[in-house]
């Protein structure tokens, strides 16, 4: 029994990818790095988790009730969307920096999901620096980085719903911001100066899952 088997009694077939979920454009995708990320949290007493994606009820319930996390939800995509609609993207780096008010080394785990795919380089560097600052030693940061040029993808954000430790349900929702040009892996690593790559996987759905740890 895996850690997240408690979350759901219905475990998908391991090789089931992009399974149709009816009219809703939802799909199940395998994840490799999430399990390691969860194990980092379970080894901590009362871990503090920062989720940079939109709030997802089942995830909050799981992290709060089952893992005993204190969860901070700070939807960076919502901030991006606000700036796109207000045509103030030039102010985004400053706004991103101002949002991150956590103390140094105060967070055990960060779920960055794919938010870096939507940031310009300046904003990505600001966010990467701030996340590195607030992560505790031995803490973990999980990021998903697309590997498909933006023109080939629809303009949507994605909610990631944890099904179990090796499966995520993707829930796309519309947005005005397109994904930015694909980041090279070396450039991703440079965003988090002070963190080391613990695990990295190139998934069938063209996503690079990278787990960073703070030394």
């Amino acid at each position: 029994m895996g850690l997240l088997d408690r979350l759901t009694s219905k475990r998908p077939e391991p090789e089931t990818h992009q399974r149709s979920a009816g009219a809703a454009e939802q799909s199940l995708f395998a994840t490799k790095a999430l399990g390691t990320f969860l194990r980092v949290l379970t080894l901590r007493e009362a871990p503090v988790l920062l989720d940079l994606g939109p709030v997802v009820g089942p995830n909050v319930g799981f992290f709060g009730e089952h893992l005993g996390c204190k969860i901070f939800v700070d939807d960076v995509c919502a901030e991006i969307e606000r700036h796109v609609r207000a045509n103030t993207l030039a102010d985004l780096p400053e706004a991103i920096g101002a949002r991150c008010s956590h103390a140094d080394a105060s967070v055990d785990g960060i779920l960055a999901w794919d938010v870096f795919d939507y940031l310009d380089k300046a904003s990505a560097h600001v966010l990467g620096r701030e996340l590195t600052r607030i992560l505790r030693p031995d803490g973990a940061l999980l990021g998903f980085f697309g590997n498909v040029p933006p023109k080939e993808q629809p303009s949507t954000y994605t909610k990631y719903v944890i099904v179990d430790e090796s499966t995520l349900r993707h829930r796309p929702y519309p947005g005005a911001r397109e994904r930015q040009p694909v980041l090279a892996t070396r450039d991703i690593i440079r965003l988090f100066d002070g963190l080391r790559v613990s695990d990295s996987f190139f998934m069938k759905n063209n996503v690079r899952e990278i787990l960073f740890r703070k030394t």
Binding site: L3, K32, L38, R39, V55, G68, F202
Partner: protein
């Protein structure tokens, strides 16, 4: 049922148009304990500034600014409710907007289109799809040590042929 004073007034009135001019003195709106089990409704034209305490379930469709204390009862923020307050209750259901921290001894339930900007402390939290939330959630798990998953080999995901290690 309600002791109304100048802090409880129709929004259509002159003072409701300029709520910031209201005195910041604490205002207690006490509910009748004899009406326990009943539910009180604050309509959407009502604006309250100050401290709201009671011993009945309460539904707010108006505006409240200050503090709300219903420690043994259920507070429902209706779809038209606009709350800018610290909230303490047994259970809180949010269909409208809350700007402030929520502490509930049983449950916080943010429904579809509900919005909370603030920190939540409650043993159970439910957030519906379509709800907005920004802040922290603390479910106060006490004494339950985190599961030592790393010590359980079965919990470790076995390598599957699908994903490949990134070479870089």
């Amino acid at each position: 049922m309600w002791k109304r004073d100048e802090a409880v007034r129709p929004a259509s009135g002159q003072s409701a148009g300029a709520p910031s001019s209201t005195s910041t003195a604490s205002t207690h709106v006490e509910m009748n304990p004899s009406l326990e089990k009943s539910t009180v409704n604050i309509g959407k034209s009502v604006v309250i500034k100050g401290e709201l305490t009671g011993s009945e379930d309460l539904t707010i469709d108006g505006q409240v600014e200050g503090t709300i204390q219903l420690r043994e009862h259920v507070l429902t923020i209706g779809a038209n409710g606009r709350i800018k307050a610290q909230v303490f209750a047994k259970s809180v259901v949010v269909l409208g907007e809350v700007n402030g921290d929520i502490t509930a001894s049983e449950k916080v339930d943010i429904r579809d289109n509900g919005s909370v900007d603030g920190d939540i402390v409650s043993p159970r939290v439910a957030i519906a799809e379509g709800a907005h939330f920004r802040g922290s959630v603390d479910m106060q798990r006490k004494g339950a040590a985190a599961s030592p998953v790393a010590a359980k080999p079965a919990a470790v995901p076995t390598p599957a042929p699908a994903p490949q290690k990134v070479g870089a």
